[in-house]
Amino acid sequence: MFDVAGAWQALIHHPLFGVGVTLGAYQLALAAYEKTRWFFLQPVLVSMLAVIGVLVACGLSYEEYKVSAQALTIFLGPATVALAVPLFLNLKRIRQLFWPTLLTLLVGGVVATGMGVLLAWWFGADHMMLMSMAPKSVTSPIAMLVADQIGGIAALAAVFVLITGVIGAILGPELLRRIGVRHPAAQGLAMGMTAHAVGTSRALQEGEECGAFAALAMSLMGVGTAVALPLVVALFS
């Protein structure tokens, strides 16, 4: 007879199962987004929910999925390096706006990080949560490293980074336009520095200049946080 159970096990434990599920979910999410154009159907969010649904239905653990999706995550590094290209192409525009960019990054970066921690402390989250939350506005490899250094949990930091990015990317462009932020550089900078890679990929959809400033803001915010946050935490504790 046919070994249906065996075939099922071979399917869900195949080393490519994670890649397959992720690719499938992403295509569906993209199709749904392109068909409806609803801004809350962000492909990352929808694919995430679809993948979690499949994993739970198949009884697979996140650890197993993580290993079998490695073929995709391995490209996150080169993709981060690749952000240098839009950054370089728009260097001229960035140079023209050098002081506004630098000032906004400094003041806005302190506000973004400080406000998250203060609010969470005020709402009663514990120390470990606070320290996992502090680097929420920077891209996940940096956030995980920084959280680990200052007494938080790296994996939790990755989750907070993601929630921040998704919310920022979903609501950001609309809200920014509503309060009268029209310049693509201002929109991109605001999205890149608070909503990191997810915000940057959203900003790239808005336009090239917007994307370039988002990439610039994301990388400078990341580098700045990686250096400054551990020093600040060391000073205050």
Partner: protein, 122 residues
């Protein structure tokens, strides 16, 4: 073309990783790689076609590459549920307020700079 560009990106990331282990423990390898590639591009003064093709192909799929990390939410569902309102509330509030603040500040500074330039021209 695509492969040659991808090779460059990987080389820069690996260089970044080496520097990370040797000197810069605070900064992850890919970020050091980004800075190195930027310096290289400024030095060259232009983007080689291979690098341009590879980077635009990769960046188009950046959301896809972020999905596996996003799925990690499922592991911490319980810890997040315990502090749900404190964590969720402050995350949402702080990202929206700080994003709007940053956008507003940048817009003001750009407007001011353009006004100054305008006056200087008169």
């Amino acid at each position: 073309m695509l492969l040659r560009g991808l090779t460059w990106l990987v080389v820069f990331q690996l260089l970044g990783t080496v520097l990370n282990v040797l000197f810069l423990h605070m900064l992850p390898g890919p970020i050091i790689g980004l800075v190195l590639l930027l310096v290289y591009l400024i030095w060259q003064g232009e983007v080689a076609e291979s690098i341009s093709v590879a980077s635009s192909s990769l960046l188009r799929y950046l959301p896809l590459l972020l999905v596996p990390a996003a799925v990690g939410v499922m592991v911490y569902a319980k810890a997040i549920a315990a502090d749900f309102w404190a964590v969720g509330g402050s995350l949402v509030l702080s990202v929206l307020l700080s994003m709007l603040f940053a956008g507003w500040l940048m817009q003001k500074l750009i407007d001011r700079q353009q006004r100054k330039r305008g006056e200087a021209d008169v």
